[in-house]
Symmetry: C2
Subunit: 530 residues, 2 copies
Amino acid sequence: MSETPVEKYRAISPAEFFYKYREIAGFSNPARAIYQTVRELVENALDATDAHGIMPDIKISIRKVDEIQEFYRITVEDNGIGIPPDVVPDAFGRVLFSSKYVLRQTRGMYGLGVKMAVLYGQMTTGRPVEVITSKPGFKRIYYFKLRIDVNRNEPVIIERGSWRKNREWHGTIVSITIEGDWGRAKPKIKEYLFKTAIVTPYANIVALTPDDEIIYYPRIIDKIPRPPLEVKPHPHGVDLELLKQIISSHNYTSVEELLIKGFQSIGEATAKSILQQAGIDPGKPVSELSDNELLSLVNTLKSMKDIRAPSIKAISPLGSDVIIAGLKRVFQPEFVYAVSRRPQAYQGHPFIVEAGIAYGGKTPMSDDDKPIILRYANKIPLLYDEGSDVTTMVVKEDISWDHYMVSFPAPIAILVHVCSTKIPFKGVGKESIADVPEVRKEIKLVLMDVLRELKKYLSKKAKEEELKKRAEHLAKYIPEVARGLSVIVANGSKDFEVKLVQKLVSIISRRTGIPVPEIQQVLESIRIGA
Amino acid sequence: MSETPVEKYRAISPAEFFYKYREIAGFSNPARAIYQTVRELVENALDATDAHGIMPDIKISIRKVDEIQEFYRITVEDNGIGIPPDVVPDAFGRVLFSSKYVLRQTRGMYGLGVKMAVLYGQMTTGRPVEVITSKPGFKRIYYFKLRIDVNRNEPVIIERGSWRKNREWHGTIVSITIEGDWGRAKPKIKEYLFKTAIVTPYANIVALTPDDEIIYYPRIIDKIPRPPLEVKPHPHGVDLELLKQIISSHNYTSVEELLIKGFQSIGEATAKSILQQAGIDPGKPVSELSDNELLSLVNTLKSMKDIRAPSIKAISPLGSDVIIAGLKRVFQPEFVYAVSRRPQAYQGHPFIVEAGIAYGGKTPMSDDDKPIILRYANKIPLLYDEGSDVTTMVVKEDISWDHYMVSFPAPIAILVHVCSTKIPFKGVGKESIADVPEVRKEIKLVLMDVLRELKKYLSKKAKEEELKKRAEHLAKYIPEVARGLSVIVANGSKDFEVKLVQKLVSIISRRTGIPVPEIQQVLESIRIGA
């Protein structure tokens, strides 16, 4: 009983860390792994196209490649900007290597996804990843087969080659073979493609499944959201570590130059006022700043009140047209509406919240306590952990549905899209957004925006139905009244009776606002009914 | 509008990754950061003591150290096994360096926590971490002041020293200064200490807060759970990558030796049968195994049916005594019960689920739909994300509370502890456990175990109350009957009447099972009432 453990210390590489704890990146079992692999490859494909102004053509194939074992080869092809051949090995074989570590909205964010899929493939099937890629204007197409050395976190190239292009093709084709559970993953993958298609109506997406089913979402609009551009850090998002990184990344001579060139939203006047507040001489060489001066600078930057909000160049909302097109495609609703709100900021990051609403048509019935919720972050659908997502909190706690004439269940779907240079995800699996007060408030406001329109529609609809009822009620008396008057005044003249009916219809129409043809329709139905 | 972004690829160090995405490790704002820092330091302190058979004495101090800014210095001292001086710089200054990357139950798991606190400190206050440590038997005490070079993921030593011990002290003292929000963090930190004290009744825990409040949980039992010991991987948890790691970590001559020495639960006979099934010659040199043979070996190992379950040496449950002592301390319940279930396994990892239940006494009233839930994983309390935790799912979906005579709200608290060599946490912030079928089933079973006992208690209590009512009912007639009979039979003799009362009391007691004194008490109350 007195035996106690010996502490054995060791460092592990990021590759080993994420291999060991793969479930935190969504690779917890063969079902989740196949879903996650499809998702990571599709999101990289979309990032390589629409974020560069290219209309995406995405081809996905999932094939069973072993008679006995559940081994699946997942291939995703895009028509994007390709990957420079000297970068390919690291981009697929080195964890924490990425082009996504900049201030710019992208679907990818952590530089983890595709490497996790490669790791999962090599730990379950031993098969390497295969990559074919070419950039626009390049004369050759490049081919790589590689795996990850987990201990060193380095790519190991197994095969490489290149050939001349005979046609102007650019893009990337990635194939990864993993152990999967297609049966259990299938509904989630289909839901993923369905929800992706809603927010990318400008893309062609076609998928071939192991059941030989073809899932096809053709392009339905030609408008593509404006590509996001990289920006410099905003003063409100600065901390000591970031300030030191900005300083060491360039050779700024004076601290004034550091502020103007190292940050967004700082001009000469603002720089001067910041330095005065921080008690630092504008001409002071950056290298001579003391620790206390750096701290004072950070505090002043973080708390500056009259500074321009973070630039929205870096973010790319869908826009209401795209949302409406997407919702119409899948729900063919009787009412649809969408709003993009104005940009806001949290911790120096700009963000925009957008929402759409679909009512009736083929919109399915919701649950007993809330509408169907379609959650999106930086254009990717979020499928898991709905219960702990900030949008669900807003829907359940912050909105008085009664006020908008909505009682559940109802054929209502809402779509909420948050886009930002940094989404406050609750985990690297990117399944739900944390309850950040600034974001929560905007989600509430955007839902109120779309719900106000829904309320208008519903109350107009209710009024129309009410009017129709009244019209039916009044119209019932028209034939009788017309005949009676005709007998008294015009010896029962049929001509007079017909004119009288027309007159009465137009009077009722004028006084109730119901169009003449509708009243005539009611009369017609009475005539037939009688 | 035709401007498109340029893809700039770069690698970042694990330190930069977790600095950038600190919220996924729980450092999302100054309130969470101060809570998380206390928690990480306390958990390291407990791992350094009870996991080595030492009764923990933990001292925590949280002090405001700046007049204007919300800077807090958090110091935690333990009487544990200390850290070797050559290891200190990496243990505090290199992300993904740890003694926790082994198969053994520890509170720490990711090798991240304390470095995240150090990073948060240096990005908000610029202050380095300070460490004082000495191992048992060492003659000197060592002192370090250091920070993390984020780009290189390396410790930078600012100051170091050592001095001779004048008394036999061993342990570690860590001080970290961070920007915090004590006001908002305070309730969570108090809840954390309260819940930690419940499962460590064998520890002295004292904390001094910025409000000069002293929170003290003295040791109340002398029994300490058996320390966990490192074990080798179990065959059911193997994958290709792990197999390759095991192979490269030792110089095994034959594949048979690899199986017997590299894994737990494999003896000579099992090794032979595995190799036969995989179609590999037992004497084959490990270096000559082909990729296909490795894959076939993995498949055979993973699917071996008649193999010993994973060793439980590596896990350390609390035991029912500790749970009961902990629940009694805080709730002084009228009923308390606890159960440790037998070990189970998932993915080659052994795990044990334990539960306790407290009813009545000072147990607070629960919500309207569920009991108070105290969640623990490897002896650490889980405070956030209750809604997405597997225990909450079991409580809400898998248990018929009616069946156990429980309707909410009720003064009921349940405690669930999952311990394992690998807890399936949903994120590196360690706030909730994922819905793993094997774990979920055990949680359901353990709750049924403790609820059966609660039901027995509640039905016994109900029966006793019923009996008491009946006794009261019967006892009411005793005086009258006794007087009446006394008048008829013994001329109203007081003596006879008294004897008759005693006789009747004993008859009722015999027939109802109610003790004589209780019936007499009822009689007494009637007499006084009359």
